[in-house]
């Protein structure tokens, strides 16, 4: 198969009560890409990530990973297959040390079984990668928000993913931290991990994404290169307009 996508979804739909949080969305992500997912608050971005990672169940449509249907699997199976994620509202293990947080990923999330020593070594090197090696023994709950977000990335990478879902990694960070996060994302791509990310920081998205998908009221309203998205009338109407405005304040 020449055109097999790493991740693809067909007519992905999820209702909450009468509300269509995600409706009939077709999407794909190719190997090595950084794909951005944008849309106003409540557009259904997090819900789409939750559907991919099986945090919530998919009611109709299908999601395939490397050509294999993954909808219906449990979260831990999805993780083992090679999809890792971070959370919009950070979910570290606050009482466990930073190293233990990452170690858990190496021990349980990786598709291959690692010995304890190997897992520990890998966790340490990932902490270095994420710039957290000084804090190994600190309880994760004591870290700053920016560090907790980096920790989530390190923990996700410890599961040796092929695809990483990043849900608003930059939200709540200051400009320096945002620059750091952007650098981290390019480094992740350089490791050969495909990235699918949600972000409200438009400038960052325009810089690092190869392709952007726009959701609005649960529907996909546009898709294309950053330049195409920036030029699209529909997108500017529903989304970019207010964002640019808000960003200039």
């Amino acid at each position: 198969m020449c055109n097999m996508h790493v991740l693809e979804g067909e007519r992905v739909t999820r209702y909450f009560g009468g509300l269509a949080a995600v409706s009939n969305v077709d999407f794909y992500v190719d190997r090595g890409e950084i794909v951005g997912l944008i849309g106003p608050n409540g557009a259904g971005k997090t819900t789409l990530f939750n559907l991919i990672s099986a945090a919530i169940t998919l009611k109709s449509g299908v999601i395939r990973f490397k050509g294999e249907k993954i909808s219906g699997l449990r979260p831990c199976r999805i993780c083992k297959k090679g999809i890792a994620r971070t959370f919009q509202s950070v979910k570290v293990f606050p009482g466990m040390s930073v190293l233990e947080n990452v170690l858990l990923g190496s021990l349980f999330g990786a598709p291959a079984k690692l010995s304890r020593a190997d897992a520990r070594a890998e966790a340490s090197s990932l902490l270095e990668f994420a710039g957290l090696s000084e804090m190994k023994t600190v309880p994760a709950g004591d870290l700053t928000l920016a560090s907790q977000k980096r920790l989530e990335v390190a923990r996700a990478l410890a599961t040796r993913p092929e695809l990483l879902l990043l849900d608003e990694l930059m939200a709540g960070l200051n400009p320096t931290e945002i620059a750091g996060a952007m650098e981290l994302i390019s480094k992740i791509r350089d490791r050969g991990v495909t990235v699918f990310m949600v972000e409200h920081v438009m400038r960052a998205m325009m810089c690092i994404c190869g392709r952007i998908i726009v959701l609005h009221h649960g529907e996909k309203i546009a898709e294309g290169t950053p330049q195409e998205i920036a030029a699209s009338k529909t997108v500017i109407d529903v989304y970019l307009g207010e964002q640019v405005y808000a960003g200039n304040q």
């Binding site: 945090a55 831990c76 994620r85 959370f87 466990m96 349980f108 599961t159």
Partner: protein
């Protein structure tokens, strides 16, 4: 360098203490009066209940009030099979029946979070008790049962063996990657699931292992009580006690529940026959005080005190 020598020194001392305790408890029935042996059996029983409870509920934060159900299953197993099979087989059966009950209950209910899990497990204890009562009244036409009595040294040794095996299992769980997974579930279950932990499996298996030891403890104790009925066997106190003892001791370290259980079991032995109501009253007061002023139990208190000492 310095730290590692201190650590090894500490672990050598710790190992020696454990060895000495092991020997003392093994040889105890040879020279101690029967009364001491019986008292220690009761203390061991409470330690088994409490450490088992803390094995699952400590790290995961799921507050189980099911111990009395598993304990009761052990007791009734001993009562029903006691006449027909060798003692050890009966006791292991008690453990396994509890184990399977826990698998079933766990599969059904461990998706209930927080308070619902606590009240569900409590309801389970009462449901079994009432159904058993009905069964005895209307099907077998009896009320209660007699259990064959066994010498108290035998009871002591079996309970002791049970405790030692449980402690080995508990140490192993704490140190293994399984223990790490359990803690991650307590810290953030969603994150654990998305980091590859099969949360359902880990929870159910641990719940069942903890039930196994509670069941064996019940089967052993049944032989000491000689007469049982549904409300003796499925007494909700056997759910509350381990929770209190574990909270009082603190679940952060393995020795927390052990110390908590030992203290209360000792207190109970002295107070319950003479002042049963005052005992329960004191029990309640200590519970409230412990929750208010030492939420991490004795363990937390000692750690805080040590840290404070270090700084000053």
């Amino acid at each position: 360098m310095n730290i590692s020598t201190v650590l090894t020194k500490r672990s050598v001392v710790g190992g020696l203490v454990i060895l000495i305790l092991l020997i003392i408890f093994i040889t105890l029935p040879l020279y101690a009066p029967a009364y001491t042996v019986i008292l220690l059996t009761a203390i061991f029983m409470y330690i088994v209940l409490t450490v088992s409870w803390a094995l699952f509920s400590g790290p995961t934060g799921y507050m189980s009030l099911a111990p009395a159900a598993f304990f009761g299953v052990g007791i009734y197993t001993a009562a029903i099979l006691g006449m027909k099979l060798p003692l050890i087989v009966v006791i292991v059966c008690g453990g396994f029946f509890s184990f399977f009950l826990a698998l079933l209950v766990g599969a059904l209910t461990l998706r209930l979070r927080g308070i619902y899990f606590a009240i569900f497990t409590f309801g389970l204890v009462m449901l079994i008790a009432y159904l058993l009562l009905f069964w005895e009244l209307h099907v077998t036409g009896t009320r209660g049962r007699f259990v064959i009595a066994v010498g108290h040294n035998t009871v002591y040794y079996i309970m002791y063996g049970n405790l030692v095996i449980l402690l080995i299992v508990a140490v192993f769980v704490r140190r293994s990657k399984f223990g790490l997974a359990l803690r991650s579930i307590g810290e953030n279950e969603d994150a654990a699931a998305h980091t590859g932990v099969n949360v359902t499996l880990v929870k159910i298996v641990t719940f069942a292992i903890s039930a196994f030891f509670i069941g064996t403890a019940g089967a052993v104790m049944a032989t000491r009580w000689t007469y049982i009925d549904p409300f003796i066997a499925f007494n909700p106190l056997f759910s509350f006690m381990p929770v209190l003892m574990a909270i009082f001791g603190g679940t952060g370290q393995l020795w927390g529940p052990i110390i908590g259980a030992a203290i209360f079991a000792y207190l109970e032995e002295f107070l319950i026959t003479r002042f049963p109501y005052y005992y329960m009253l004191i029990f309640g007061i200590i519970l409230v005080i412990a929750i208010l002023y030492m939420p991490k139990g004795l363990v937390g208190l000692i750690q805080k005190w040590r840290k404070g000492g270090g700084v000053v």
